[in-house]
């Protein structure tokens, strides 16, 4: 059984999200399907420290470039310069047999609301 971070990266890799390590973050790409950024591939990230319980419990913070703006958000600085981390709690975790796919769906849902 591989460690949780490796499992997370492998899951995203299988979905062609191009995951990679950048310091304390796992950075990957999401194709936005709806909203203002529909059709774009946006780079986003999670902290490796939040992946210690993957896939039993998902990360909380979503790291995004500061150019991605939300009408309402609870955000804090990200370790990546020019980025912010946004508080987003995923609902109903544990129903999808593919946790990486469920995570990407969550991030896509968040990005669909970006302005």
């Amino acid at each position: 059984m591989s460690d949780p971070v490796t499992q997370f990266i492998a899951g995203l890799d299988s979905l062609a999200a191009a995951p990679g390590r950048r310091g304390a973050l796992i950075v990957y790409q999401v194709d936005v399907l709806a909203g203002r950024h529909a059709g774009q591939a946006i780079e986003t990230a999670v902290e490796t420290g939040e992946l210690v319980n993957w896939p039993v419990a998902p990360p909380h913070w979503i790291h995004l470039p500061a150019t991605v703006i939300f009408a309402r958000t609870n955000c804090q600085p990200s370790p990546v310069a020019g980025w912010l981390r946004h508080s987003r709690q995923i609902a109903g975790w544990g129903t999808d047999p593919n946790p990486a796919q469920a995570w990407l769906a969550h991030v896509r849902g968040v990005l669909a609301l970006a302005q």
Binding site: V56, H60, T95
Partner: protein, 509 residues
């Protein structure tokens, strides 16, 4: 082992013709601070020609090699099981039993890296006995006998090694408890260790009642300090406890010790969070756990433990729904359930949001900057948990009663029925509902059933627990408060000696 595994083994080992039988299984270790447990995971029944039954039963070396290789590739150890059809209770090892197990012990350990576990099933009452074959060379090996074997289903069945854990003395003060379920069941029940995690209004009440019932070993775990806002719910706590910054653990230990009716009660105190590695290690030393915590992270740790390590967790709590304008109460509900393989986990039955765990673990729920940044809107995103939720002591007793009823059903099985599944009581209508929750097919928690030490633990550093321990440290108190604490300690010590003397006097009659 689970009841399902027990059923499969009994179906093979207890033959209609009354002869002994034998088979192999795989296990995973589950290691606590002082105890190790072998979690039976998979039964490998013999294939054609791999065992002979001739009154006794023997297996071939090829069978052992086949199963050991499969176990090694899965990271498992090997269990060698056989039956004594006419046996009852914990079984001693016969010469042939000893020869068979010792002859394979080193081979199996070399292939799997884990000691061989030997088990015997007594045919007349279904009792199990077990031992680890740890060290030695060639046939010069000796077994380390286990203290008990636990079979976990809707009922927790335990077989005791009476030589290692003898039947405890029955003091005259427990006569009414013994009369409730009989001396045999009582002797079994009081040897089953219980850890109470969270010593608030519900956990404290439960701990005291377990002590009064006569349990010989109770664990208490909490890192929190008694604060003024706790005094309306912690029965037995006083303004002195709040002033002198006493821990909830200290209060529970003092009251449980005074209320204990066992002849020699062992009450272990853990000034820890279950989320800390040492807290989880301590928990793995207990036969069952009662969960009285409400934060997502500790609940997630205990939820996982119930499946990963086969330790039943009796969980529940109370929710009070007050009108937001302060004009009264809309309703109150209390729920209880037992978590174990075969029942839906806390997340599947809707009592734990796994999506909230990371925020709790990161400290966000206690971080003023995070809380200040939360949008206070109906559709706001982010966790809405508040550290201090509404509760009232006249109702917390009902939550405790619901948990304790689940405990009795799991351990005593009144009428032959074990725990009933998730229950919910609605105060407004005074109705008791059986919740029809089922396990989700993709549940990431139940997927780790029986994985033991190899699965994630969800533990880590717990800054809030560290802060509370520091807050109570003497050096953080003023001179006057330190002297008052010294006086309180002396008074408590004197009272403890007096109570101990009175108990000795009573039990020697």
């Amino acid at each position: 082992m689970t009841a399902e595994t027990d059923d499969a083994l009994r179906a093979h080992l207890l033959r209609p013709d009354g002869q002994e039988d034998i088979c192999l299984a795989a296990y995973r270790p589950s290691t606590g601070a002082t105890r190790r447990t072998a979690l039976l995971r998979r039964v490998h029944l013999p294939e054609s020609g791999e065992r002979q039954v001739h009154g006794n039963a023997t297996i071939t070396g090829d069978y052992v090699l086949r199963v050991a290789a499969a176990a090694a590739s899965d990271g498992d150890g090997v269990v060698l099981l056989h039956s004594h059809p006419g046996g009852r209770g914990w079984q001693p090892m016969s010469g042939p039993d000893q020869d068979t197990e010792s002859s394979y012990s080193n081979l199996v350990r070399e292939i799997t890296g884990l000691p061989l576990v030997g088990m015997t099933l007594a045919g007349r009452d279904g009792a199990w006995s077990a031992r680890h074959w740890d060290h030695g060379v060639a046939r010069d090996v000796t077994p380390a006998h286990c203290e008990n074997v636990r079979v976990l289903g809707t009922e927790l069945r335990v077989t005791w090694n009476g030589q290692l854990v003898p039947v405890p003395d029955r003091p005259p003060t427990t006569v009414r408890s013994v009369a409730s379920w009989g001396p045999i069941r009582h002797a079994d029940l009081v040897r089953r260790s219980v850890l109470v995690v969270g010593l608030g209004s519900v956990g404290l009440d439960i701990a005291l009642r377990l002590a009064a019932t006569g349990l010989t070993r109770i664990g208490l775990m909490d890192f929190d300090t008694i604060k003024p806002h706790n005094l309306d719910r912690l029965i037995g706590a006083t303004a002195t406890d709040s002033w002198l910054r006493h821990s909830k653990l200290n209060l529970a230990h003092r009251l449980a010790t005074e209320n204990a009716t066992a002849a020699v009660p062992v009450i272990d105190s853990f000034d820890l969070s279950i989320c800390e590695p040492d807290g989880l290690a301590a928990a793995l030393d207990f036969d069952q756990i009662i969960c009285c915590v409400d934060r997502p992270w500790p609940r997630a740790v205990l939820n996982l433990l119930a499946y990963r390590d086969y330790i039943p967790v009796i969980d529940g709590g109370i929710a009070i729904d007050a009108f937001t304008d302060g004009s009264g109460m809309r309703n109150a509900t209390w729920r209880s359930h037992v978590l174990h393989p075969g029942r839906p986990c806390m997340s599947c039955n809707g009592q734990l949001d796994l999506g909230a765990v990371a925020a709790d673990q990161s400290g966000a729920l206690d971080d003023p900057a995070y809380i200040a940044g939360k949008p206070h809107l109906p559709d706001a995103t982010g966790p809405d948990d508040t550290p201090e939720s509404a509760n009232v002591t006249v109702l917390s007793a009902s939550a405790a009663a619901s948990l304790l009823a689940q405990y009795v059903s799991l351990n005593v099985a009144p009428g032959g029925l074990g725990e009933p599944g998730p229950l919910q009581y609605l105060l407004s209508t005074h109705t008791l509902d059986h919740i029809s929750a089922t396990s989700r097919p993709a549940c990431p928690v139940e997927a780790l059933t029986g994985q033991g030490d190899q699965a994630i633990r969800m533990t880590g550093a717990h800054p809030q627990a560290q802060h509370e321990r520091q807050y109570r440290a003497s050096r953080s108190l003023g001179f006057g408060t330190r002297r008052a604490r010294d006086l309180d300690t002396a008074l408590s010590w004197t009272r403890a000696r007096l109570v101990a003397f009175a108990k000795r006097r009573l039990n020697s009659r």
